[in-house]
Symmetry: C3
Subunit: 243 residues, 3 copies
């Protein structure tokens, strides 16, 4: 039985993993889903990318977790790549679920299509808190992120989102060490995930191919299978995360 640490993506917090954790635990595994620094409702959004990374490192070290299967979703991919640089000896495998595998020396926002980049900069400029944040517009959420939900489910899930701190998107990530690590890696691809548009800018094989030798697992579903099909997601995380 394995120990999973599940890292959410932008606009989410750790609570979104609950149905996945329930399934993993039912299968006999241990699962944790910490919330990244600056994420969730009613918290200080003045964080940078490294603060997010450090919050996961601290969680794993404080709980003294070892042989961890570290799973990152979407933005969370950039987090687990950096966590792997910090505490490689505690990790058994990295699982990137439709996740960013950032190129060394680039920021996250360099990895998305120009029209999204522009939109995110505009949303950040309009944000009115102490720190710049961005909120995902609902029409984009409904049709591009969670198209496999009913409108009502899409609305309910949207209510659970919170504004995303912008600084982690624009921080340059070194990641030289990540690309030298020999920790086994998997990429889990939901075949209808259009949060990055299929093709030139898509998740797969653009992000997956950067992992070098890795295991590919695919399942049907949108970017938000965490809401729309958490049991199948959990089962495929197991296929991606096992030895």
């Amino acid at each position: 039985m394995a120990t999973y640490v599940l890292i959410h993506g932008s606009w989410h917090d750790g609570s979104a993993w609950q149905p996945v954790m329930t399934r993993l635990e039912k299968l006999g595994h241990t699962a944790h889903a910490p919330t990244l620094a600056g994420h969730g409702a009613d918290v200080d959004k003045s964080v940078n990318h490294n603060d997010c990374v450090q919050s996961v490192v601290d969680f794993i070290v404080d709980q003294d977790l070892t042989e961890v299967v570290l799973v990152g979703h979407s933005f969370g991919g950039s987090i687990i790549a950096r966590v792997a640089e910090e505490i490689p000896d505690r990790l058994r495998r990295l699982v990137f679920w439709n996740a960013f595998v950032p190129e060394p020396g680039k920021s996250l926002i360099d990895q998305i299509p120009p029209h999204y980049k522009e939109m995110f900069h505009a949303l950040a400029a309009e944000s009115d808190g102490d720190a710049r944040t961005i909120m995902l517009p609902f029409p984009l959420w409904r049709d591009v992120f969670i198209q496999d939900a009913t409108l009502e489910e899409a609305q309910a899930a949207y209510e659970q989102l919170s504004p995303e701190p912008f600084q982690p998107f624009v921080d340059t990530l070194d990641l030289q060490r990540f690309y030298e690590l020999t920790i086994p890696k998997s990429f889990l691809n939901c075949t209808e995930d259009t949060a990055l548009p299929p093709g030139e800018w898509g998740w797969h094989p653009r992000m997956s191919s950067r992992l070098g030798l890795h295991r590919l697992i695919q399942m049907p579903g949108s970017h938000e299978a965490i809401f729309t099909d958490p049991e199948t997601l959990a089962d495929n995380i197991v296929l991606a995360g096992r030895d």
Copy 2:
């Protein structure tokens, strides 16, 4: 419950949608499947692209349909894009099912691979009616369009096809207005559809990406799921067409 208007592709007529309509109606929806001008057996094939468009506009206006989910298959994609320019206020969503999303200022035949373009021009030159038409050669139909049928099913479906008027293939389509419309759009992709060859000339993401913000739905099946799996097709049209 929604109102669907289903627009067939080349060589087909509205009757091919009957099993899909039966399923949609069983689910409580209303469904219509008009035959495009110049399509079907024993009709005058002297039509251009605009005649096809106008026949759908007339159908929707005559029946006074509103809040229409307008679905176009294959060639039908070029029709619904133009219909949307004419009567946008009557449409709730456009669904392109493995359908052409033509570039502005191009004709349909500009969107297909050179070897098909050549073959279609040759077939049109050989046609012997008053108007130039093309018929799909059976070997292409069987292996490339309807490979998920038995040979007998493929033959039976072929019997229902009729020669396609050629003029609509070569008419230049302006479509400037289409690309400015904000009607919600979906692309339904059958993952084994090889009517356009996968890759550089494929349906997805080549055609789908032209829609800009849109919802992607995928299902297994060939270009002719209308014959080989109409119930699953209907169910996915609902997923593509709902709010």
Copy 3:
């Protein structure tokens, strides 16, 4: 009912097809799975590509098989393309299952990514038999070839592999005649097959598109569905191989 001749890929021998054959025979078909020259345990590995081809030609001619559906997996694709040049009149259809469709005048090793090419040359240089051979490293097998097995299944299947003669990989294949044959062709694609990395170097549509007019069939599974899902594989070979 059809007659199938099933040609294995590198590191395999004919015995790997046994569960597929059992299923095909249960469906009423006839199935044969000869082992290529120089393949399997305890045989002379001093063979070239043509020896492998000739061993299949001899098998089909000796058994006087006609109307054969000839199936090639992986490396076996390069074999069936050459067999088709030698005895076209005995073949009813060619089925390439995630298989090489080599370009004329190239060798097999020209069709794989540079990092694999380099690795295979290094493994061949290190081999210590009379003939140069290569063995697939287990980590590559486990994560890239057979990721849909458990670790134990992956290990058990690995035990059935044997070193692959290297000469057939580097022999130049003419194949001019193959590209002029009108034998019907199918490509069966396992959607999680990463033995060739998805994208620029992938099986599909890179290899499939070289077939020209062909039938595409897809199923879920890794490169080694022969071990992990032989019944579904057999059923899809039937869909690919029927008229």
